[in-house]
Symmetry: C2
Subunit: 137 residues, 2 copies
DNA sequence: CCGTATCCTACAAGATACTG
DNA sequence: CAGTATCTTGTAGGATACGG
């Protein structure tokens, strides 16, 4: 019945995720999945940026959230933060090699979502049409 | 200085993400990034599952959250839900081909996080040691 | 310019009880 | 078994004001 999935199974669960749900993946996924991290990573993939440049490049992000996001990325070793003791202050952000290695995966997710967004959109419309009562987001 | 990033730049932003932040990627990322979706996808990558089987396979998920998660995945066309009119009720869940195509990306994220988890762990420890006052998660 | 400090709200998610 | 229906709570994230 499920023979076609067995190969996938063997490789999708390299760390016994079924028994150990937190082999680190949720950690990464919550980081990648939060509202701004990926956009910051994408922005930094274009090169080194200052704080204001980042904020201008990321539509809608507040100062607070940019600070928090960029600090978490720094803490995880994905981003380097350099403070120049000038007046006024000047701070630059840049992806580390670890951060850069994530951009490839992010790019694939972006490509996937781009490729299937219409598909998903139709699916949602169909579902909503057939389940008028329910409210799901 | 940033010459090494130019190639990445060209491919990381296939849809002008800088100007159009919502080309669909955030949609996908918030789905992938929520607390349970990926674990459900991983579980279903092993084959067809019933509701209870899913819940037993995913440690800590509540009935409510499993229902919500699986409904959203169904709505997005990633999962097929089949209700058998038996008594008691019997419902099965299975990945669609679209859903299966996501498992590959999820697997790569899992591999990445597995490969770099120690790295990240050390980075965090270092950061926390050097910034004793701050509390970042 | 680059943040920190507060305050506030919305929503994700848990706990629990009940139903076809 | 496979859900719904409530109620509650934690926390992510927004708005705003101030500081080095």
């Amino acid at each position: 019945m499920s023979d076609s999935h067995i190969q996938v199974t063997a490789s999708i669960d390299p760390c016994g995720l079924d028994e150990h749900p937190d082999c680190g993946i949720r950690d990464v996924l919550t980081r990648v999945g939060d509202k701004w991290s990926v956009l910051v990573i994408v922005e930094l993939a274009s090169g080194i940026r200052r704080f204001r440049e980042l904020q201008r490049g990321i539509d809608g992000i507040s100062q607070r959230m940019l600070t928090l996001t960029v600090r978490r990325l720094e803490r995880d070793g994905l981003v380097t933060r350099i403070v120049y003791p000038t007046v006024p202050a000047q701070v630059t952000y840049e992806l580390t090699s670890l951060g850069s290695s994530l951009t490839h995966l992010v790019k694939q997710l972006a490509d996937w979502s781009l490729e299937h967004r219409e598909n998903i959109g139709h699916s949602r419309a169909d579902y909503d049409a057939q389940h008028p009562a329910h409210e799901i987001h």
